[in-house]
Assembly symmetry: D3
Homo-oligomer: 267 residues x 6
């Protein structure tokens, strides 16, 4: 069960409101790499994980992501403070403009933020920055640790990049401090998941079926200069070189994939 | 540009039609870890990748995934062959049952497959096995190689597991052979993406911002026995042990996260 | 910030596994009236609520809903225990049927549960019972207390009904006990939200604009026997009677809505 | 069956076109609290309602919401009049700018409205203001009157607030008049649904199962200062006070929820 | 504005309840080719159509589709009559099975229909037959008559096929009669839209830009035997023959599309 | 199987970057009438088409649409070149503004493009121009040629209009040339599908059931001046005239639809 402490996990600072940046930050509230997605990814894994250590780690990190979600919500709340979207519900009379005098942003800017402005009452909604509602289609949990931990490592990497870009888009020192905390924690989580994956001795390939030995080494060079006449026709082996030079797997280059195809057409 | 060869990339075999298994296999046609998702994940990366080697690899693999998508479509087509859903459009008169005599499946089974039966005319639709339409929300491309390649490795691991489960759910030798080919190729692709990631010397943390040194090592043990009275109160360090024992990152255990929290409440 | 205690908030009991009932129970995990929706509805309200008392109540209840979400996850986990979907990842060889002997459910039943079976590895996914992914479109928070509290009261009523129906669909005494706890808490929450709404003295109409005095009392009887010739033509006043007899608002019956319409056509 | 009269139900006035405001108004066309959602909420209830009076009311109000949907469509049409999005299909040559001379809005504004501009041909599409397509996930009908009527009351409250905010965002007198009509009708509908709910004698709790007597009175204070050391640790009873002071339900404060939790961990 | 007459547009007959068929019929309630989609497609066109005749036709047909939607709802209501999903809300005690004795369908069947059973209270929800919520993504209105009328003709053709398949799947004479009425009306509507398209003298190509003369006649044969070695390599002209033999447009066969491609690679 | 040639099918030209236009062009990448939708519409038809000629045409055109998708991706890539969204990942330090000096666009514009800016890393994502993820709900394939070909004709008409509008919104000569190629190909495809439809001798009505002879000719005039008193009451026959004057189908005008309705109310 959960308990809630009303303190923020880390200080949330906003030097000055900025509705346009708030729109961007929505990515980490209700976007694909945001904190709700992170929490739900790890809870769905942790609540079905038979291994005690991995379950413990999943629940530790998932709980922390909820604390992050709350911090992002609070950051958004402060970024939107005193914006027209927050003020509108307090207006007694008929027209917001009367109260805001010449300070009212023009309609285009209001309209840009129409989701929070019209539906949110100044509060963030669980959408990405373009207004698409959060969907569990973002959650790629599949219930197999050697696959799920790789998904978790990748998810932390994406979240780290998202925070990094947001940090680069702002020069608000308070916001930068808050987002740097959140970004840093994604780095730490990535390391934790890597440790958990490394603890599984046989983690490649994930699962119990080995696959066909020969088919698993072919590098199919099916993008190149196919269909052109004469000597310039054929594959490009650049991608093969990248694979071969950085792996001891032993790839076998297949430059004639059509010749190896089945003699079978769709029927 | 693309060229299409009408041969299947690998022989598609189905020993006997099986509409219920076809429903499950839809996961790899229009599901989150299916072949369309794979192709679109790698094309969106490859078409914006400035590095020539990585672009070449992305386009090789993405093109192969399209060939896989076609194989899955053909497998589905054969699994649904002569099912009521395929026959219904050929019935001249008013009632399918007249033609099928006593062989007509009961309504429950027909209704189970209602998507392909009613909307697909016996052909597969781009949904997952529960009928949810494919959505680009499945695509987690973020335009940064050290993050994207980790997403690709994870995606291949999930696809491998999905094929493995499907193989275990069938005893149709033909289908097993076809799905084993597809599963094996996911293993090969995972290896290729690992090689590409390894070729990026500084791939951790992804991006250019380092993060806060200290915050990045804390292990926040916020799931345990919190809220209970007395000596049993507090954290569970099982997850920390897993991380610490399998990494040289040097995690620092934080068993009093509330004490380290900000003295700031939501306002 | 959040803390997690590994105890369940209330005992989760399942007398025997039942995958088909698990499918139905998914409604309360990833469905529109389920526990994730509840938690997110109240958190989005609480994190933006300036009133201290209402914020406190919102965070109390939202936190409890997370604890419920965990209980539902655990119930689902036990309902799916030892089902083929859970066993499949442990099979070493090629075919689940070999292990299950004659006990393997037929394909139709497996296929019915294809989401958890193929994608979930036996764990619940954040979908409703028909497999549609959870979406933030379920969250109707609008950032105005007199409206939001009404939405909360309604949401608790719907959740209560959903649990009630699930209870009626099962005769598993353990499951009944667990679901009765969850159902009962929705009743308690409904009462709490009613109290909070009652504490707002001027809660009708919500907001600050009064509306047009006269237009607000018209009962437009636009469904009835319109378009028929002669004396049978016209409105049905049954609905008006229901409104008028149970309210002191003073509705005014409008049986000729077209006559009161604008003399303006679409252009 | 339905009949359509080409008159608008109430005069639609727009003093001058305003594409940015049109974007905001889309909320009431294809958004979660908009007129299509209202009509579909009440039709799905009315068409399955065995009680004659409630069915009559549902169909009266649902039909009126369709008339409102048409008014919103017409308002949008006039707000977009002569905007580039409307003009573009009439341009014979190659470039809209030649026709508009210096009057063409810059690309940013065009791009803001890209949905109606590119896909709509100047007509509104059934999306919310951020471009998300209308989804039946907005409809919370559950087929039980004591729950559904509460959902209807809440939906009217939200729609009222949405119109109120839109009114405050504009100073176009014609638009204000039209939207005030629509807002006022939501107030009237809320009153009607309240009357219908009051007519059900035993409407709390909704449904036929009473729930556990004791569990239904607990107020679980699980948000506060949990996890902190010493005397500051523990719950915040502010929310409990709000509930207790405004209700005769008799809540019982639970400040030690973990002690009352089950001695059961997830497995 | 709209008026509603409580009579069904055409007699709705159901000889006996059939929940499994009800599931299939949901396609025409909340599915992509269903009646709500039809009504919304034509209303969004009609409410923005400047041409009086076309606007009149659009509103006539859209209004009729609403009347059809109501008929489908009523058919569904009767198909679900006395099913457990309808009975469940009337059960006073704790367990539906006590009331139904041995007649209760097994869990699998209940679970198949979980959407209507658990969420709908026996009433249909606005989903397709697989439970996906209706989405405005189904609406392809683009605000240009020569394109929209073609979309309408196609939509009627798809709806006709959907009804035809449903008719073939049932032997309930009452249902067949009702669905035959609905199917026949789609045929009539298709003819109406064809007439409206024919009335636009210059309806091909739609719009005002002519396109490049030469590029518009090429038939690109890019699917065939590409990539194979030797004389078997190259295109398949079967599709070209189909086009050329049934058109006076004068297609020009392009069997070497790569040679005609740009000398430009992605960068 | 597929082969990929790295040349663009036709030269992609962009005279200067334009992020706001890029946002609009997203419609043809991940929007409802875009190239992915086109490719998937025709592949799902072609892979299940028993007729050899139609299958060949479907695969030719579907393959070409993939080549178009690649061209649109490349156009987007060039339109976004050196935009802040592309630069952000290369910034080493903390703040993008330091690098961009005074040239940084203001937050509003950055925020407008938040999807590509924050999530895409400067690359296009598979969304429409308003940020909604691509969904297979756009695909209307129904597995019956006489219906599907009509859907294809309509889809090409919509795609043609979409490109036409985009061309009119830009004065970038390079972009105009590229989009004119793409637009022209849609015209050619429309002609091909028309030829294929014409080759089916009995293509109306689609399917095998004829429908009721009489019901198929009625023109139901249910939109007009219904509900008004006196002589102005009743239908508008404008739409009927349009149908009758442009068809030899022989419509029969029904101006009293209620009189012809069933004597049956919803129950």
């Amino acid at each position: 069960m959960f308990l809630h402490n009303k303190r923020m996990m880390y200080k949330v600072s906003v030097d000055e409101p900025n509705p346009a940046f708030a729109k961007m930050l929505l990515e980490q509230f209700g976007g694909p790499n945001g904190e709700l997605a992170a929490a739900m990814r790890y809870f769905t894994q942790g609540w079905n994980e038979p291994d005690e250590q991995r379950r413990s780690m999943m629940l530790d990190i998932a709980t922390e992501e909820l604390s992050h979600l709350e911090m992002v919500a609070q950051t958004l709340h402060m970024l939107l403070k005193d914006s027209p979207s927050e003020l509108v519900d307090q207006v007694e009379g008929n027209y917001l403009g009367d109260m805001l005098n010449g300070k009212m942003p023009d309609y285009v800017n209001m309209s840009l933020n129409s989701g929070p402005n019209i539906l949110g009452g100044g509060g963030p909604r669980l959408t990405d920055s373009m207004g698409s509602p959060w969907t569990a289609a973002y959650i790629d949990t599949i219930g197999q640790p050697a696959a799920d931990l790789r998904s978790d490592i990748a998810a932390e990497a994406r979240a780290k990049i998202t925070y990094e870009r947001l940090i680069k888009f702002t020069d608000d020192a308070g916001v930068k401090d808050t987002l740097t905390f959140l970004m840093t924690r994604e780095v730490a989580h990535q390391k934790m998941f890597e440790a958990a994956l490394d603890s599984i001795e046989e983690n490649f390939p994930p699962g119990t079926l080995a696959g066909d030995e020969k088919l698993g080494h072919a590098y199919v060079a099916d993008s190149g200069n196919f269909g052109a006449a004469g000597k310039n026709s054929g594959p490009d082996t650049t991608g093969f070189d990248l694979a071969q030079d950085n792996s001891d797997w032993g790839f076998e280059l297949d430059t004639e994939p059509v010749e190896h195809a089945a003699k079978q057409e769709a029927q």
